[in-house]
Symmetry: D2
Subunit: 382 residues, 4 copies
């Protein structure tokens, strides 16, 4: 696809996702880690204005002098501390002004993309589009957090299928001991954390074709899994006790039955559907209770072409760390991934909230081990 | 004024205050103590539905079964903890639905007020109107907090005069030692915390006609007032250091000049205008630095008829405690005032944000000593 | 008694109180508000060295150059923050060195007290002795906190009678409406917060001869007092829930029976003995449950000569605030009381831990409303 | 060496380390992560009583029924929360009783070790001895924390050489790409986290012969290293700002010169000595500033036989995670290592505080990335 076409497709998808929103829904930041839709719309646009248009489109004038300040998530200055958790309080500029901002920048980008551009610039634009796709996913998961904590459980879209799927295949896949090639060769677009392709030695292992289902996880819950300290990591046990966790996020027990909040409203838990919204701590405890374990990200990637994946992010037992030869780029783009390489665990795969075509087998998603708000599930290994 | 007329006047004023708001402005709760406009609009309405219409208007059906739960600030159940700080995340019901709720309840109240009603019911409605006036004031101060923490300093209303006034009179008023009658006799509407009229013995004192101005307070700042521990209460000194406080709320030093955020936007500080947005700690420290003190609430009330007041809430040196013979009413209304009688200091007077006619000389406002977000100023005594 | 004799008597009593301690007991600071015995021994000595000997005894050389820094509780510098909660970690100087410090300062004081001294100096020494008596009481209550949180419940002294007494008298004392003289006239030693004698108007009230007993309080507990929110102040209710409070401090339910830790070890709760170790919140909730109230400090003082008091500190319903004409002294001594006049409630009386002769009817003790670790009980009024 | 002899040697070394202590030094727990010497002495003894003597020595009666409860660090019950940070407040049993406990258990162990014992029991005793050696090291580092936060900087032992050494060798060691054997084969004693020996593929790398010195680190400090956000991990930058970190632990700038606290007292910083007491965040930032990186634990182990190591624990860029085939033992011993495998980074090597012979090239030490209180330094790789 031509880059201009791709640009418009990605940008358009973001706005399509927002169609079911009311103006009020664009505003709140329910917790510091979940940003308002308004902010996602503006920040992904800011990337194109700040990183691309200002430097590359002759005659471009910025949309508004405050927007660079308001919608930059990067800058490491004293100011940042003040505003990191305050994105939900910035009521103005309002929603319609943010859409005007998007249209303005899209006009600039369309003009730029009608010209001949360098390979380097093309790469930066591809980064911007992948960045916007990441924010599409966050827009959905953050919105789910807001609506899912509203005691009236509002529906985002009845017809938008974000319910859990069931597994298409079962059993164990056995992989042989040996050297495997891991990581991206950089031939097409990838994030810096996927580079470089390198060799990893794996011992023989088996990995499950199916993801853990709600019904299987309910067995763990009913067997007292949340009160058996021997299944949990020490910090997982503290997390569970301090936060009074006793089930996946969005689950509610009403009159003895389990329900969960979905973007189509509150539904009865489907035991055959794939489990979601568990933390790494829960994933690890479940695996431990089964006498099994989570795969490493290397095992996952080595087996990935023989697995059915893409319905849920899958916690791996790998910490998010640099690959051999990892280099951060100079300037602001260099803050994209490298500085987060501590205290986070890698997830592989993709979820129903991931933009189509955004993920790939070398893709490394990462979150702190206590986060439940992503569509995160469990694949077992042994 | 007939009660129905008064009802409509008060209810109408709330909506008039919201005229300059954009839909987005109705949503955020920037800090747990400041509620969203949407919530103020709905909660003051909930009072009339829950306390009055459901019990007194035959055939009344509630507007929506969830609203009782969503807009009740009172109930002391386990649920409360979950939602106290979450008022800014409840995006639905939306703004227009809240206005429908108001109109629906107003129709019910209009019907009820067209009938003969008991004295007791009339009192409860008066309480509801005074309650709504209190939320009118909070609506303004909470909105100021949201807009005042937006780095773009949006204007609420250029023509809405909420700027600081200057003092009309000066010098000291000397009051004689003796017995004074303090408190309300209950003949007209008052809050339970103003009851009963009782005797207080006061020693001779003098109280200032004028409130402290910005210019006078700047002298304290420039004399190093915020770094002189000997002026401060021990907990005030901790508060100042932990929160890095060095000026009244909403003040900003830009290129060596002092500005403050007002509801008409960012303005240069006017040295002759009355100081506002200081905490009790700051009020006490300023008085101590001057070798003077704050008046007690009894001194204030005894002198009030000879003073010009109503432009700023005035911190007193009295803790918020019950008067002799204080009784709480049975039921939810009994939770109105009494349960807050600890760790708070009394403010007397009224401010530009107070509804006209709402306050009186026996009125007892109260806040924790560290709060700055009300229109709170300083009157000195000796 | 001659001042030298009194000096030696007070100083000696501090050491007598420490006789049953093991070296290890002198060290810990179990919570920031409870200091180690070692610190109490040294800090009360520091007062005499720093405030008196250095300025008034010719030729006096300080015991150790670090002690002024280590055992000063006053200084408001950046350093203070570092060490406020670290008193339990300063293992050196050790216990014997602290006793040498005491002996050294006592020799200096004995020398000074053998000379003619000014009235002003005499007053300062009296302040030092009263200060030491306050630390004697804290030494006992802080030690009780340490031993009482040791799961083996060690005995301080079997023969040291710190068990609760029973009430000697019962019924209500009726007091007439009128003007009462409150406060100290300054003729003998008193703290600055007791000054000046002034007039207070009291309405007629009744006050109980007896303090609330353990048995009476158990009725409140068994009636669900700790889960009835309508009895509690709002912040009391939060305190109770956040800290999972369901009984007075040091109480333990073992196999269905109530025990409490005393300095003579763990004992079964005596229902006839006077209740102790309740917070203001608990005192207020109990009174509210009984349909009664706590007396103000003025009512207490006005009635005190007709009451039997001295077995327990008694929470009053008065906030700790300055009396008319209150002045703080210049310099460090001025930080003694005034700067704590916020967010604390007054207690009147004395306890079994109070040094004999230390308290008087005008004495104002004060603590934050959530503190339970003092010997604090309840006297009702109506 | 015969096991009995080894037992006595290890046990004796613990007590030798305590020779310079005063009774008071045995008591404090300055921060939750640093335990009192008294606790280390008792807890390491408890291991032998609870895990070995009670089950294996016929006729053994426990020393004291409370000690199992007081000195168990393992149990995951509700009780644990109460006492985890309270080890410094348990003044009784006192120091001499703890030494009696040690002597009593040593008599039991001597008796047991004079008999024929099974291989399994021998392994458990070896685990107990290695456990005690770990506590010897913690005893030293925790004591250093207590004394190092005493403003008088007490000397532990002038002659006990815990000062930093200098580097014996310099330059880069180049290692070839290929498969390396990593981990322990279990032939002799090792911890479960070192198992099993397995293959790891390493790409070519270079590793420094020398550790970073104080002088080299000072260059980083003087170049503004602590204020250059681009050198730091995002969470490292937050840690630094929230805790106002600007130098390694125990460093003090006095009149323009750098000093550090050592167990021989406060000394001027020696620029040629090996740097110590830096966190992983600091180690990573320093490496980033140099344009280099930290080695992984696999690189370290592969190169270890060609390196001079043992003077400082060395932060690696590996997260603490299980090796292929890792299994936890059943029962309490299974809680030894596995449950801590999250959010911690591996350190390799040994330090001057490590018991002689305790570490080995496969040894995996681990701490959270913000901890500075171990003797932790930096070896660079590229």
């Amino acid at each position: 696809m031509h880059l201009k076409e791709k640009y418009l497709q990605v940008r358009n998808r973001t706005e399509t996702l927002c169609k079911p929103l009311h103006v009020e829904d664009y505003v709140p930041q329910p917790v510091p880690f979940a940003s308002p839709p308004k902010w996602h719309l503006a920040h992904s646009t800011w990337f194109f204005e700040e990183m691309i248009l200002k430097k590359n489109l002759t005659g471009y004038t910025e949309f508004h002098r405050d927007f660079g300040f308001l919608f930059n998530s990067y800058y490491n200055t004293i100011g940042e501390r003040t505003f990191r958790a305050d994105r939900g309080n910035i009521t103005r500029p309002g929603v319609s002004e943010v859409y005007e901002y998007r249209a303005y920048v899209d006009r600039g980008m369309t003009e730029l993309l009608s010209k001949e551009i360098s390979g380097e610039l093309r790469e930066l634009i591809e980064l911007g589009l992948n960045h916007e796709q990441q924010h599409q996913e966050l827009l959905i998961t953050d919105l789910k957090y807001t609506l899912g904590h509203n005691p009236t459980f509002p529906v985002y879209d009845e017809s938008f299928n974000l319910l859990a799927d069931s597994n298409p295949s079962f059993g164990w896949l056995a992989m042989e001991e040996g050297i495997y090639e891991i990581g991206h060769d950089g031939g097409a677009f990838c994030f810096d954390n996927e580079l470089n392709k390198h060799r990893v030695y794996l011992h023989a292992f088996e990995i499950s074709h199916a993801l853990v289902t709600n019904g299987e996880y309910l067995e763990f819950m009913e067997a007292g899994g949340y009160s058996r300290f021997d299944c949990w990591l020490d910090e997982g046990w503290s997390w569970l006790n301090e936060n009074k966790i006793s089930h996946p996020l969005y689950w509610h027990q009403i009159n003895g039955k389990w329900y969960y909040f979905t973007l189509a409203g509150l539904k009865e838990v489907d035991p055959d559907a794939i489990l979601s919204h568990v933390s790494y701590y829960e994933a690890q405890a479940y695996a431990s209770w089964k006498g099994l374990r989570l795969p490493t990200e290397f095992e996952w990637e080595a087996a990935s072409e023989l697995l059915d994946w893409g319905k849920r992010w899958e916690w791996t037992n790998s910490a998010y760390l640099p690959y051999p030869g990892f280099k951060t780029a100079a300037g602001a783009v260099g803050e994209y991934n490298g500085k987060f390489m501590i205290n986070q665990m890698v997830l592989r795969g993709a979820s129903v909230a991931t933009a189509p075509g955004h993920s790939r087998k070398t893709y490394r998603n990462f979150f702190h081990p206590h986060f439940q708000w992503q569509y995160s599930g469990i694949r077992l290994a042994k």
